[in-house]
Each structure stands twice: as C-alpha cells, then as structure tokens.
Point group: C2
Chain length 134, copies 2
DNA sequence: CTGTATCCCTCCTGATACTG
DNA sequence: CAGTATCAGGAGGGATACAG
C-alpha cells in the first residue's frame, strides 16, 4: 500500500539497472529466463534431490515430453546449472547433476516456493474479487 | 558438481510437491508466472522505488509498448501485487503502487538480482564454452 | 492522459515417429 | 536407453490506430 523503504538488496537492483544494461544484455534476464520456462525449475528441483539419469527424470516428471526434457536439460547444461555425464555402460546411460553454481541457486527458488506457499491463498482471493467486479 | 545436502527451505519445496499439486494447480507457478513475463519484474521494481503514474512508468521503461504496459499492470493488479488509483484530476490520472503483498515479494527479486550479478559472468563463459564445442 | 482494439508474427510447447 | 526430426497449436509480445 505504501512505498517501502529502500533496503540493501534492492539497491543492488538499482545499481544493476543504472549500470546501463540493455534489455537483451541484462544479467537479471539471464536468470529470470531460466525460471520462466515451464520445466526448468522443476528439473532443477529433481536434480537437487540428487543426480538422476535421463529415464529417471522422465519418470519423476511424468507430464514432460521427451522433447522438452532433452531441450530443457540442454539449456540448463549450456548455462552451467547442471552437468551431463555419459557413462559407457552397455546401453549408454547419461547422468545429470546439479553443478555448484546450480546448487547455489536453489535456495532462491526455495524462498520463492515458501513465499508462494504463504501467499497463494490471498492471490487467488484477490483474483476472484478482481474478476467479480469486471 | 555434487549433490548438495538438503536444507530447510528446500524441504518446503519437497513438501509443496508432495502435497500433490497438479501442474496447473501449483501455487509456485502462480508466482513464477509473474516473474516470467518480460515486463512484470521491471514494473514491480519501478513501483518499489515509489508510486508512479501511467505516463511516468512508460517513460521509466521506454522499451515497453503501451499495450504491454497496460496489460502487465492489469495482471499485477489482478493478483494483488499492485494497486490502481484513479485520481479525479482534470485530465484523469492513474497512480500505481505496490501493495503490502507486492512489497513483501521484492526482497526475493532482489536476491535473484544479486545472484545474477554474481554469476552472470560465469554463465556467459559457460555458454560460450558450450557453444564452441558444438 | 490513460487506455482499447486490431493485426501479425515469433517462440514455446506438445504429440508423434524415428535413430544410434 | 537417450536423443533427434517434424508438424501443429496457442500464448506472448510488438506496431499501429482509435476512444473516453
């Protein structure tokens, strides 16, 4: 309702903006774009429990298509969030695991999850109220 | 590189998943979908500095089209992140401001920004390395 | 000043089938 | 088992013009 006082982390945000990044150049978007995909955070979460093979991941997230599983894993690997290790077994198996950088990102997701958990009731209420007026 | 040990916040995430939300029903997606839009977080940030009128917002984020500005503000208002107040001035003016709930979400964005700030160099390096191999 | 309405186009996503 | 290829649908986003 009111303007909240500036705090330390937000100052970082101001700094980031004033450092003059363009929209395509903005480091924040590099991260936000990871969150935005439908499956990225879910897969990061699965791998945070522990390293998993391709097939195991597919069974852990049954709604994902094989195409999107491959594609999302590739993107996360490209950006260094996860590692991909081919093991020369008889039918070759591939294991995916969180990198240190990927792991360092998980607490942020966890905080968002906790926040969502506390606020989703109110959000849905607001939404229904808003829609009722229109 | 290694599987990180489970910590408290992540347990919340596990709990959220095991509480059996479907993909469309998941409260976490309610929040993540806000972050995912191209403009939502940018506008939240602008309003975190202080309440702003429509025209001021448009000038603050010059790259946004009028259509997307209206649309994004409407979505954020609908979910209770921001408030919209019409002031009966001569040419009517509309002021947008963060709600308490919206303000409580800002520290999370700030942490992501800080993380992005620390890691975007490495992410870009990983990306170039990955692309070079292919 | 603050929006709405319309058109268009790209990207994300899913379904299916196929390969080493 | 792990991955690629192809096709199709829909949402997100931009440009422009118009309205209260």
């Amino acid at each position: 309702m009111t303007a909240t006082p500036m705090n330390e982390p937000i100052m970082d945000l101001v700094a980031a903006k004033e450092r003059g990044f363009t929209l395509d150049d903005c480091p924040v978007r590099d991260v936000l774009d990871k969150l935005s995909g439908k499956w990225a955070t879910l897969l990061l979460f699965e791998l945070h429990i522990g390293p998993k093979r391709f097939g195991v991941l597919r069974r852990s997230v049954p709604d994902i298509s094989q195409r999107m599983l491959t594609q999302t894993l590739r993107t996360l690997e490209r950006d260094g969030f996860i590692s991909r290790t081919v093991k020369p077994t008889k039918p070759p198996s591939v294991e995916y695991a969180l990198t240190d950088m990927g792991a360092s990102f998980m607490p942020l997701i966890a905080e968002i999850v906790a926040w969502a958990d506390q606020n989703h009731e109110q959000i849905r209420l607001m939404r229904r109220t808003f829609d009722a007026v229109e």
